[in-house]
Symmetry: C2
């Protein structure tokens, strides 16, 4: 346990306090965060020194002061209403919880998720993007070379297997028989686990850049990728908006600075059109990534200042706002990290737009109700929901309406 206080020149408002709590919570188990008098005090249950906590608190406050909150775009439909659709989606079996942060999908929810993927695919096609696919498992070097494990240890997930020898396999086999207990499985060498050569993909686009390493003939190009991504987190309340595994469609643009910046403008306009076209109450705002409380957090400040990341933030219902997509200008981050350059030796830039398909589908059900066949005609048209949208509506096995 540790406790730390800092004095503040200006008092924090509620939103800023919540923001500080959220950032601090990425790294620590925060048990209390209080404004009192002229200061801010935090208590965490981690085994860390008061001094280290104080250092982190100062760092977080510095970041929150700099965090850009400027809104670039806002859409607030006059007829807006929003209601949490998750209880009803679960009751009818479109959504079923498998475990913390893991859900099975079927029925109309799955049909809408697929329609959203097709919609983002069309955005990609307008950028001339070629379709690519990567497995959701990457050699650890892909992430280590961009310092992912250092910057986001709280999100990283590895994928070890059992060591390839008879003794280890036998030990593991005997230890994890049916009925051996309900708990998690220890991942140590003593338990027979080999070191992990692969990690779970935290996003879908990094292999695009990694595959260019060592090249000096990179040309302007656009790509699109659909995949499952993984973050070591879940919603304590079991809510659909924070999943350990979820699907994402990305549009990626690589090339010269001019080409990338022009495509970024086009993608920003597409993101606005997406939010507006789907009838969502939403904004596009500068944002930061959930960097861990070390030097990575400082990089977060720089990122925030340069407004490299923009998020499509959707109000699903009163009190529940989340990012359903983002547009990330990487500048030359990937070409520096992996070592590649344009033909002629120029610096290669990149930008990507990623849409979290479950979050956007969830937001749509909250906004327009449980029956896609009754959604507004323009929204249905945009989603390509014709007569076929009932195809997948039989629900999940074990759901209330099926056997």
């Amino acid at each position: 346990m540790a406790q730390a206080s800092v004095r503040l020149k200006r008092p924090l408002d509620d939103a800023a306090l919540a923001g500080v709590g959220a950032v601090l919570g990425r790294s620590f188990a925060v048990t209390a965060l209080d404004r009192g008098g002229e200061g801010l005090s935090a208590t965490v249950s981690d085994d860390v020194s008061d001094e280290r906590l104080r250092e982190a608190l100062v760092q977080v406050l510095r970041v929150s002061r700099h965090a850009a909150s400027e809104q670039g775009f806002a859409h607030d439909p006059a007829d807006w209403r929003g209601e949490d659709a998750q209880p009803a989606l679960e009751a009818r079996g479109d959504v079923r919880r498998l475990g913390p942060g893991l859900f099975a999908f079927g029925g109309a929810f799955l049909a809408v998720r697929a329609a959203l993927d097709t919609l983002v695919q069309a955005i990609a096609a307008r950028q001339g993007a070629a379709e690519l696919a990567y497995p959701p498992l990457w050699p650890v070097g892909v992430l280590r070379d961009i310092n992912y494990f250092h910057d986001f240890p709280q999100l990283a997930m590895l994928a070890p297997g059992v060591a390839p020898d008879f003794a280890a396999r036998t030990r593991f086999s005997e230890a994890h028989r049916r009925g051996s207990g309900p708990g998690a499985i220890a991942c140590t060498a003593e338990d027979g686990l080999a070191p992990a050569a692969n990690a779970l993909a935290p996003t879908v686009c990094d292999c695009c850049y990694w595959l260019l390493r060592g090249r000096s003939d990179v040309a302007d190009a656009a790509f699109t990728i659909h995949g499952t991504v993984f973050r070591n987190e879940s919603s304590p309340a079991g809510a659909l908006e924070r999943l350990t595994a979820y699907t994402m469609r990305e549009v990626v643009v690589i090339g010269s600075e001019g080409f990338v910046l022009a495509r970024r403008e086009a993608l920003l306009a597409e993101l606005e059109a997406l939010g507006r076209g789907l009838g969502l109450r939403c904004t596009i705002e500068a944002a930061d990534d959930p960097f861990f409380c070390n030097d990575a957090l400082q990089k977060g400040v720089l990122q925030g200042l340069a407004r490299l990341k923009h998020e499509l933030r959707v109000v699903a219902f009163e009190g529940r706002t989340f990012a359903a997509g983002s547009l990330n200008l990487h500048n030359d981050f990937f070409s520096r990290s992996y070592g590649y350059a344009l033909a002629g030796g120029g610096t290669a830039f990149s930008v990507c737009m990623g849409i979290g398909l479950e979050r956007l589908a969830y937001a749509l059900f909250c906004r327009h109700g449980l029956e896609p066949e009754r959604w507004p005609a323009p929204v249905r048209a945009l989603l390509g929901l014709g007569a076929a949208d009932r195809a997948g509506q039989a629900g999940l096995p074990g759901a209330a309406r099926t056997g």
Copy 2:
């Protein structure tokens, strides 16, 4: 190292010797396997007693004696030719290796993979199957309850994250900075890894049954699922047919014995039509699963005897045959394991048909050549390859033909 010999009543032919080697190789690092005089001797480099090895050898021989090799269906087109398409697919950038058993896909290969998924979806639709989706990460209990870790330790993969406390995250963050080394990441408690609550999905359908646990009102139903599956293995030669992560489309039927057996016949006919329609040189044969050399292997014998598993085995080219699909009758395995029953209390049966989409796509390129636009018209028609099949052909970033 261990060495063991057994006497044989009948000599083993070459095929049987290769079969014994393959089964033994699932559990041990086999360095030699020799027929000499009236016996068979094996040498492995594992740290295991001669006695334990001898026991396994006897067990494997017993299994190989019982293994059903009866062919149920064979299609051998008169005009057949087959050539390994992988070198050319890699040269033009449709296929790129990320690491052992992990590949990126683009271009025509990815377009054909998608077309095959749609084709199997149509088979599912003829069974009235509802579309479902599961994440590729499952709570470990899903697999422990069917004894997967005991029966297949050599294939299992877990998905641990860093322990959720500041000290562990800091340790992991510092240990795996950029430049910290090229190797795999050790999974020890000292490195900050938490026990794994989730495992990587080895197939796509198990959640269908698991979600029914505790129910006693299960009705006849069919489902279809597309997903990525994971096995802790890869081809030493880097060949496309043995991947650590690959995609699969399954058709699942759950219900009464009569319903399930009737649907199994229908799916067997569909599997034959698929192999024939795609013009492949193929067979459908009884097969076994790669059980580990313990009591699980004995269950493999029983499974083989009852001919529960049938594989669509494709000759990709001379000397390269692999299974691209399978039909698995589970009888009441899942309802017993997870505890569910039909409405009225009857025993619930199940069957699934799974198609490995990369393997089938690879087989098609080996069979019909590198240009889908030149494939036989009936094959193109079956795959729905119209004018749109050039859409995704721009290749992967870093490929020879793109920047």
